[in-house]
């Protein structure tokens, strides 16, 4: 009894969830029945309070999308218990759908051939919104996402940015208490991205909408999410503050340089950085903290065709593992 009360505080509870996919081994003969078990999600637990803005971060194949699909009720967990707004999503899909809005990547739910307004008309009917409700929600969305000018334009004639804005509106036309977004910003220009981020912030603060934003890019959750989960190989390796994670990111950076004549630099040593990977004339160096002067000099002196400095997810995951090892004195 007491335990149930405690769980009620959470709008999303994800308890000891495991998801195993069975895939047929490809290289074997067509008729063989050998399967490979892949743990996409490996005994994950997390709890989200109403109004939290959570970033789900991780490299490809980390289990992010599987997690969101289970939260949406599209997939069922192999083991564990999921509750979203008091409902088991995959068992009560219909009730769950009123509680959630979802955007899966660049998959659009707009009617391609028709003026944008038609999509909203049919969605009003599908979500059984009353005229008043619909008008109120629609007006707000049109204002914030600047849709009014394009309502009568066929969707196929919209720019990508306009289309994604419209898709955001379509996903939350019923003003659900929960909004899932899986890589929603891919390929969108900066201005539009800022607008969409502003929109997410607004519904998060003003409507207490609980938001889960899935991304592989740390920059996208900065300034938005109050909390971050970092997923790697189906497990949560970090659950906490964005600022702390940001600090970890700053710890390690990777410098990728492309040389014109790699022969000349075969035995390359850079003070303050270590060579971690090499692929033909492309070199990966890892270093800590600020960009060392030696590296700047090196870049100026060498015949380099291209260089980038990144803070990629793998690096962050690696540094988190390292921290954990140091803390626990055991391998993770």
């Amino acid at each position: 009894m007491h335990k149930d009360k405690k769980n009620d505080r959470y709008i999303i509870s994800f308890k000891n969830v495991t998801k195993i996919f069975k895939t047929r081994k490809r290289e074997k003969s067509w008729f063989s029945r050998e399967y490979e078990m892949k743990k996409a999600v490996d005994n994950i637990s997390f709890f989200v309070r109403k109004g939290e803005f959570v970033g789900l971060l991780g490299a490809n194949g980390g289990g992010k999308s599987t997690t969101v699909k289970m939260l949406s009720g599209i997939l069922s967990p192999t083991e564990g218990e999921i509750r979203v707004n008091g409902i088991i999503p995959y068992k009560q899909r219909k009730q769950n759908s009123y509680n959630i809005g979802a955007m899966f990547g660049q998959r659009s739910q707009l009617w391609w051939d028709l003026p944008l307004i038609e999509t909203f008309k049919i969605l009003r009917h599908i979500y059984r919104l009353s005229d008043d409700e619909f008008r109120k929600n629609f007006e707000i969305l049109c204002d914030v996402l600047e849709l009014r000018r394009i309502l009568n334009v066929p969707v196929r004639e919209l720019s990508l940015g306009q289309r994604v804005k419209a898709d955001f509106a379509a996903a939350v036309i019923h003003f659900p208490p929960i909004f899932y977004l899986d890589e929603p910003f891919v390929g969108i220009d900066t201005l539009c991205r800022m607008k969409l981020r502003e929109f997410l912030k607004t519904i998060n603060i003003e409507r207490k909408t609980t938001i889960i934003l899935v991304t592989h890019n740390v920059k996208e959750i900065e300034g938005l999410c109050s909390r971050v989960f970092l997923l790697d190989k189906g497990r949560i390796v970090y659950d906490g503050d964005v600022f702390d994670l940001k600090k970890k990111c700053e710890n390690y950076k990777t410098l990728i340089v492309e040389f014109r004549n790699p022969e000349k630099v075969s035995n390359l040593l850079l003070p303050g950085a270590s060579l971690v990977k090499r692929d033909d004339n492309k070199f990966w160096f890892r270093f800590k903290g600020e960009v060392p002067v030696e590296i700047v000099n090196f870049i100026v002196d060498s015949q380099i065709s291209n260089f980038t400095i990144t803070e990629d997810i793998e690096e962050i995951v690696a540094s988190i593992y390292k921290d954990l090892e140091e803390k626990n004195g055991q391998s993770f």
């Binding site: 699909k69 949406s72 899909r93 759908s97 959630i100 899966f104 028709l114 009917h125």
Partner: protein, 272 residues
């Protein structure tokens, strides 16, 4: 409550049909495409006519009886295309992720699938010419229509739609396990388009048996036509089969719905 629910779903269907019609009219050539589909239909019957004209009758079926058979098939196919066309398009929906979107909408997923594919355009020519062929054949054959005949035909048409939808959905549901099922549906389509144009008794016993009991497509037009045209004696196994289209339609649909539900469950656990 359930009546309210029913009218809600009916209205949803209507909205999807309307939105599809609007989308079709957005493109130029709406009239030309409609005209072409009518011409295609007429070529279809003309080809059969040419063949039959050489023989006058096949296995006791006169030309106008075959026209009746053809008209009945077209009518069933037209209704199927109006409302249930997506029964055969599941693999496409699975592959491009549209099924995921259907699963997070507050509608019955199978209904949503059907409604989304509903199109007045797809069966447009058949819905005009199917009944036209039925009427003209019936006139030429001098058929006497009783209320029972008419009622039986009506129920058989619905049964035929059930058979076609059920068979398509059953095989389409293979997509839940393998992603690909389109090639199997092409196969069924060939059966539908080639075998059903002629009376079943021109084929060997094996094919007759298969089209009656394995892929029960013969219940779409052959068995009901045998009833209306008074050809119950030539039917394989039992003359009683001519009455069974409505029942077979219901059974095929129920079976297909179970397969669909089972497939959906598998999809949720494997995500293929």
């Amino acid at each position: 409550m359930s009546q309210k629910c029913f009218s809600y779903y009916l209205k949803t269907y209507w909205l999807f049909l309307k939105i599809d019609l609007k989308a079709n009219m957005e493109y130029r050539g709406f009239v030309i495409r409609s005209a072409l589909s009518l011409i295609k239909e007429i070529i279809g019957i003309a080809l059969i006519w040419v063949i039959l004209d050489k023989f006058h009758a096949v296995k006791g079926w006169t030309i106008w009886e075959v026209v009746f058979l053809y008209g009945l098939k077209q009518l069933v196919v037209a209704i199927y295309a109006f409302f249930f066309d997506n029964a055969g398009n599941l693999d496409f929906k699975v592959i491009n992720g549209e099924l995921d979107r259907i699963l997070i909408r507050p509608l019955n997923p199978l209904f949503h699938l059907f409604a989304e594919g509903a199109s007045l355009m797809k069966g447009f020519s058949s819905i005009i010419l199917g009944p036209f062929f039925l009427v003209i054949a019936s006139y030429k054959l001098g058929l006497d229509w009783t209320v029972i005949d008419f009622l039986m035909l009506l129920l058989s048409v619905l049964g035929g739609v059930g058979v076609l939808t059920g068979v398509s959905l059953s095989f389409s549901s293979i997509a839940f396990w393998t992603m690909k099922s389109a090639f199997i549906l092409d196969f069924i389509f060939v059966f539908r388009e080639e075998f059903l144009n002629y009376p079943l008794n021109i084929y060997g016993k094996g094919i007759q048996f298969m089209l009656s009991f394995i892929l029960p497509l013969a219940f779409i037009n052959y068995f009901p036509s045998c009833f209306i045209l008074d050809k119950t004696k030539e039917v394989i196994i039992s003359p009683f089969l001519v009455y069974l289209s409505p029942l077979v339609g219901i059974l095929t649909m129920l079976g297909a719905y179970q397969i669909w539900k089972f497939g959906l469950k598998n999809y949720a656990s494997t995500g293929t």
